[in-house]
């Protein structure tokens, strides 16, 4: 007569199956969260195409984002800036009609912020632009995007990696970016 451990193992079968199913569920959930519910590429109130403006019509970034080399925030152009051109250009286009309604209602367009850093982070566009960084290094190839997608994580390791690589003066001091 031999002693089998199989009976003893049998009690672990149920929890093992449950934990494996749970793990698979977790992985699937994570993938869905990252792909479907990601906030990297939100649907904007107006389908503004950077490709149309930058690549096809070669408008430089700083034409609309005027404060990028002057202040901490790059600045989203006001409706008046859009209407400066779109009073005459492509007025029949349905998206431009949407823009015109905002203009007539005298309301700002409720753009959804794609690139956002938390409140405790001190980030200034000015220093980065004046240091000779191209916009694309952080924002990705926006000139080829129909809908803006966040390419970089904008998380701390990502910032510190670049600061280390470029040997930024005091670039690794906490108080350079934290406030």
């Amino acid at each position: 007569m031999s002693i089998s451990v199989r009976d003893a193992l049998g009690t672990f079968k149920k929890p093992a199956v449950i934990s494996i199913i749970g793990l698979i569920g977790f992985i699937i959930g994570y993938v869905i969260d990252v792909t479907v519910f990601s906030d990297a590429s939100p649907v904007q109130p107006i389908n503004f195409s950077h490709r149309m403006h930058v690549s096809k019509n070669s408008i430089p970034c700083l034409h609309c984002h005027v404060y990028a080399d002057k202040t901490p925030s790059a600045g989203v152009p006001g409706v008046s800036k859009c209407m400066g051109c779109h009073k005459v250009i492509a007025t029949e286009h349905p998206e431009i009609q949407k823009l015109a309604t905002y203009w007539e209602k005298r309301e700002p367009i409720p753009w959804i912020k794609v690139h956002d850093v938390p409140d405790f982070v001190y980030f200034t566009h000015k220093r980065h632009v004046l240091a000779g960084l191209a916009c694309q290094e952080c924002h990705g190839p926006v000139e080829n995007m129909d809908r803006v997608t966040r390419v970089s994580s904008l998380k701390m390791p990502w910032c510190v990696d670049c600061h280390t690589k470029k040997q930024v003066e005091n670039g690794r001091d906490c108080w350079t970016c934290h406030k």
């Binding site: 405790f120 000015k126 406030k179």
Partner: protein, 251 residues
């Protein structure tokens, strides 16, 4: 071998630097201080310090990065009132830096004793180790009443519950001054370009702030004043704030 020596130095002297970029320091002339507490108010406004309320104040949970301490000296006919503004001394050998388990407080290249709020886990060890009692703990997440949140400084984080905080020598102003210096193509900040809120608000100009590395700065000259002394110097914390003794006429 040299690396080992460097490591040892770092160990013996936390936040060890051969030489600081800037060496921000301050002098406070007690002869001029009238104890008006304008600096306290300015600090409160500049650095988003919460108003904790009467109840919390009684529990000694008030947050004031800068407080004016009051001492009575002598007996009734010859009684004298002394004021001493007490703020973080930004010690070069800070006792508060060594015990932090997560290195949330450290010495940076400007010789400032700094606190990273995101990193702080709220063990409050630093507050225990600080001989000047100038570290304050957020026991609660404080709320600002309706119109008051409009005056919060966007350059300073609003701290939450469970975080230690302290005077930063208005690091946001230092950062801004450095930013302007870079815009002008200068490597360094000129003397007098950085004024912390307390220094700016002082009606009698009792406080002087500047770079100690620069021998011609106002603060370096004030440092050599024979009236100068440092608080609790015997603890060898190397505080960076020099108090100028009150000169009495009847001594």
């Amino acid at each position: 071998m040299g690396k080992m020596r460097d490591k040892l130095k770092q160990y013996l002297k936390p936040g060890y630097y051969e030489k600081y970029d800037y060496h921000w320091g301050m002098t406070i002339d007690l002869d001029r201080c009238t104890g008006c507490e304008a600096c306290v108010v300015a600090c409160q406004a500049e650095n988003n310090l919460p108003i904790v309320g009467e109840k919390r104040f009684k529990e000694r949970r008030e947050i004031k990065w800068l407080r004016v301490e009051r001492y009575w000296e002598g007996e009734y006919p010859n009684i004298k009132l002394r004021f001493i503004p007490m703020l973080c001394q930004h010690c070069d050998q800070a006792p508060c830096e060594t015990p932090c388990p997560v290195a949330a407080t450290y010495h940076n290249q400007d010789g400032l004793n700094t606190q990273i709020y995101n990193r702080c886990i709220g063990t409050r060890t630093c507050a225990v180790y600080c001989p000047y009692e100038v570290r304050y703990f957020n026991w609660f997440t404080y709320k600002w009443d309706e119109p008051l949140e409009q005056q919060l400084n966007p350059d300073v984080t609003v701290r939450e519950k469970g975080v230690m905080e302290k005077c930063t020598f208005c690091i946001q102003r230092i950062r801004q001054a450095k930013d302007h210096a870079k815009d002008d193509g200068r490597r360094r900040v000129r003397d007098g370009e950085v004024t912390p809120a307390c220094v700016q608000s002082c009606p009698t100009k009792a406080m002087v702030f500047g770079d100690l590395n620069d021998p011609n700065s106002r603060v370096s000259k004030m440092y050599k004043n024979p009236r100068g002394y440092k608080v609790l110097e015997e603890l060898n914390t190397l505080p960076k704030i020099v108090y100028l003794k009150k000169a009495d006429s009847d001594v």
